[in-house]
Symmetry: C2
Subunit: 249 residues, 2 copies
Amino acid sequence: MQDFVREEGQPPVTSEQLVAQLREAILCGTLRPGDRLHQDRLAEEMGVSRTPLRTALTTLAQAGLVRYETNRGFRVREFSMSDLRHGLRVRAELEALACRLFALHITDAEVEHLHDLVRQGDALLACGTLRPETQVPYRQMNVEFHGTIYRGAGNPWLQSFIEQLHSVPLVSDRIAIWEDYADVVRSHDDHRRIADALGQRDGERAARIMLEHVSFVGAGTLTRVSQFPDEFLPPAEAPGGPGARRRPS
Amino acid sequence: MQDFVREEGQPPVTSEQLVAQLREAILCGTLRPGDRLHQDRLAEEMGVSRTPLRTALTTLAQAGLVRYETNRGFRVREFSMSDLRHGLRVRAELEALACRLFALHITDAEVEHLHDLVRQGDALLACGTLRPETQVPYRQMNVEFHGTIYRGAGNPWLQSFIEQLHSVPLVSDRIAIWEDYADVVRSHDDHRRIADALGQRDGERAARIMLEHVSFVGAGTLTRVSQFPDEFLPPAEAPGGPGARRRPS
DNA sequence: TTTATCCGTTTTGAATACATTATGCTGCCG
DNA sequence: CGGCAGCATAATGTATTCAAAACGGATAAA
């Protein structure tokens, strides 16, 4: 919530730290899509002046997390279903490309790391059902699996673009919504095959699987989002009443 | 270098205009890679205070045209050959994807526009040789051809990423270095075939040609750049003596 | 000769002050 | 009663000021 407030006598806050805090607040939903970002208010809450705050907001605007209109300030960006679909389409394609590139120079150690992550997932899914306490570690494993591949590709542009997409709330695997155990098993099996294909230096096959993998998982997420748009998408005015999310004045 | 100076009594300069001016200066080479961007000096040259200038520089840093180090200021980003190769690889792939997506919903009018651009190129190349005065219009045609496709794809993320790559000095077609007439003719023939394929709604074929097209033209550019690195790339430590643009390694 | 350190200068980063633009209300007019 | 002009308010954009960090050179010691 308003965990922005800075302790007294702390090292001075830099605008870079503000970027991190604001990004976190946006991705966590503390700041909701469409929210107006009053500079004076925010600056006071975060314990800085408007200057570094504006710097941070400018950075986030360029990164696409907030929108800016001249003389009308910043507000948290809203993502339409269309935005999400388009983002997923490109992410799928880029991560597939990452597979092709990675396969060209992947080391045995990297292959082993991927297999290791697959084994972690095996263990988490071994119980035969979706348990709440396995969600977080499974998600971590998933993020690490994808990250290993697109970082390993060794193309800084590719990495940058994929990371931009991963910072979009619902495009990232980070927020994949798992409901059906069978789907998770299938998705995890994709991981296994991708690791195998990369182990055999078959980038094309890995790319094909990755393309389908991201597309399928993303489609599932989008379907669930469209069923319950209130929980994920901006237009939903918080049902918790007007008192919710009130900032201290 | 300091052609920034603003007329007196003009409408106030916004930081967005500064972004445009600085981008232009960087892409044109007025500001050279590695150049330190002194805030006081630049601000005075451009007739504004440091505040909006810093905003503009922050934006450009996020866009990747300048580099920023805390407490050490901004400097024009240097691109290594590796950066350029990686950028081209991704651009080729993304523009190919744009072809596939565009083919799904391209209109007859859009097809006609592409054919029209091809005809413009035909006219410019009709004389059978590379004439200096045709370079600019040919380049404009080229930029418009590619832009029509990747904008027409209708995917904002894809468009954004491609445009990011086009703002990298040597990755963009904007700066393609044409030397061999035969190469230009071949490149132009690629355009013709891409337009044909899109006219037949054959996105796959258009994508294949586009991938090869961008790769081939880019490779040519990179080859020429590596032959005369001094003219395009920064790392060439000027052997012309210590007075020239010295930087600590 | 080389290296380390101190101190003044320069430059950046943040805070404050000022100007400009948008916003919202009131009151008047049709 | 609806609509619009005008003013008061608030919020943004820019300029200026202040503080902290980095740079550079001179000096002193090894």
